[in-house]
Amino acid sequence: MSNSDINLIRKDVSSSRKFSVLEEKLRLAAVWLLGGVFVTGIAIGTIYLYINFRVRSLEVTKANLTQQINLQSAKEGILLSLKERTSVAGKALEVAKPWGKMFTVLQEIAAEEQYNSLTVDETGKVTTTLFLGSIDESVAIVLNLVRLVDERKLRTPQLLSFSLKEDTTVLMGISFFPVF
């Protein structure tokens, strides 16, 4: 009988042991997995309950706060109206130009009796015609305009018309933008 016949028995023994080890490992894995799933399940359940409780608690808080806020809706409405109106008033005050100040500038350009007409358009341009007694007076007007530009009281003055009559009187049209 050869040695190989004896080894056949040994081989069976080895296979059985391997199976046994595998079975043991599987059993161990099953225990661990089951334990893990159980612990995780407990943990998830606890967390779920806590979060659910927290959500409900927050919902109750929110409902209470909403109720308290709704009780003050009149105050909120007044505040809202006040805010909107203040915004409008701010814009209104911003676009309203202090045209009264322009009269001081007009007095520095010419005397009241020298003015014939004056117009202020939507762009803020002042256009005026002046009746002047002589060319010297018109030169004085131009010098006044130049001085006021230097003093930054007006900008972009323009001579729109200039007519000299037989009696040496002058009708002069000028325009400018007052600086406020």
Partner: protein, 233 residues
Amino acid sequence: MIVSGAIVLFCVVAIVLAVAPSILKIQEMLSQVRDIAAEADGLQKKLNTLNTLDEQTLRFQLASVLTAVPGDRSFPSLFETVEGVAARTGVSVEQMSLSGGTTLATPSAAKLSAADRKLGTRTVPFSVTVNGSISAVQEFITLAPNVRRLLRIRTFSIAFPPDDRPLTVSIEMDAFYEPLPTSLGTAKTILPELTAADVAIIDRLGNMELITQSAEALPEPFIGQIKPNPFSP
């Protein structure tokens, strides 16, 4: 062996079908908690702000601002203001007329005109012709935009007579108004905050002279109220 295998299989199935979805659900719920907590926090802050505000002070401030920017076109206060300014400055009102087409719709329903859209506010355009000395006219033009019924001088033209007759001034003006809000947002709508600039404007308006004697009373809050007769004005 079979029992262990079944347990392992059961655990794998449990992980795939129960544990993993539960973890996702918890993540979703945590996100929900964060959102609700943020909302509750916002509501708490809003309530705290509302609690710090004094309703009487707000009412007084609104009443003051309403005389400057009324809730409707308020023609009586407009005419009264112009007449009052004229009387105060010594000019006489020769003519006063409303310019442009004035819609008869309620202020809130009326569409903004192109000029109003440009300004960002609602206005009543009108023109007034006044007579007076140059100093009186100067005072009128100075005072008109500085009274507590906000007016803006858009254009004006002055005719200087050759003799001692008073000057004639034609002025195109705008009066400002803003309809009252008819609805509030939900409770979680962020509360508008009165900034330092807003308070400065309120103070400035409060310091402006109120020319009209019949100052408008603060209207009753109609937000949330239902009219008994919807066809009544």
